[in-house]
């Protein structure tokens, strides 16, 4: 199970470093470090098409370095600073992983219980 988590964190890191391996994307991060921008602003600043900039922002977003939010028709980007409490020891992460997993399992069990009750009633009729 710890293995799962190591793999996951490694993947997250790989994505972050791959995202940073590109000059334009590093420039975008620097810009977002100063202020939030729309994709249109960024495209103009870096002399790119909207489609091209959207792709770069998509890579940064997948890597968890940037978050975007649509306000009306404009998509704004801002740098994602990890909250300090996200950086915890592995045992805390482990605890959180199981807690989340079991919350999902609770949902599945509720559905199963409801189905069993329905089937039971049908059989009794």
């Amino acid at each position: 199970m710890l293995n799962h988590m190591v793999q996951y964190v490694t993947e997250e890191l790989d994505a972050s470093f791959a995202a940073l391996a590109d000059g334009t994307r590093r420039g975008v991060l620097e810009q977002l470090g100063r202020t939030d921008c729309s994709i249109t602003d960024l495209a103009e600043r870096f002399h790119m098409t909207l489609t091209g900039m959207r792709k770069h922002v998509g890579v940064l977003e997948d890597a968890g370095l940037v978050v975007t939010e649509k306000v009306g028709r404009v998509r704004y980007c801002r740098i994602r600073r990890r909250r300090l409490d996200e950086v915890t020891s592995w045992i805390d992460r482990y605890h959180r992983m199981w807690d989340e997993r079991f919350d999902e399992l609770d949902q599945v069990l509720e559905t199963m219980k409801a189905k069993e009750q329905r089937d039971g009633r049908r059989r009794a009729e």
């Binding site: 293995n3 964190v9 600073r81 020891s89 592995w90 992983m97 989340e100 999902e104 609770d106 069990l109």
Partner: protein
């Protein structure tokens, strides 16, 4: 496994994690459902895949093959050659499942899950046993090291601003 009475959760929805020894971690949780259903959710691939991957992990379980019987094997594939696999050492319906985790480089851990009836509810106890204290520390340590790298990346990002 020696049950530690103090650590048993009595209310549903509360997960307890503890290091029992330098090579064992135990997770306990009470479920508000009968034992046979909880066992079914653990031993049926279609149900298992609905809850096994926490959303915050952002991973997708592409394939989930489980032959849940003593001597059977399982394989979980998350794409890109990321596989988790092992064998079931013991399966007793509605009671316990024991499996090996063989994807690691060194000797892997053995996971034991037991399901116990408690007034119509189910007490689930999951234990992960590592072959040595070093093996557990190696994986936990790897995670802490990765977290540290993340921390450095954050600092770099903050300095860009």
């Amino acid at each position: 496994m020696d049950a530690d009475e103090q650590s048993e959760p009595t209310e549903a929805g509360h997960t307890v994690v503890e290091r029992r020894s330098d090579r064992e971690i135990v997770v306990t949780r009470m479920f508000d459902a009968p034992v046979h259903l909880v066992f079914q959710a653990w031993s049926t691939a279609e149900l298992f895949r609905q809850w096994w991957v926490p959303r915050s992990m952002g991973m997708t379980l592409h394939e989930c093959e489980m032959d849940v019987r003593t001597g059977g094997s399982y394989r979980l594939n998350f794409g890109e050659g990321m596989d988790f696999f092992g064998r079931y050492l013991e399966v007793v319906p509605s009671s316990r499942i024991v499996w090996t985790n063989e994807e690691g480089v060194e000797g892997g851990s053995v996971t034991t899950v037991t399901f116990e009836e408690r007034d119509g509810r189910t007490l689930l106890v999951l234990s992960e046993q590592y072959p040595s204290a070093e093996a557990l520390e190696a994986e936990g340590g790897a995670l802490d090291a990765l977290e540290e790298t993340f921390g450095q990346l954050e600092e770099l990002l903050a300095s860009l601003g």
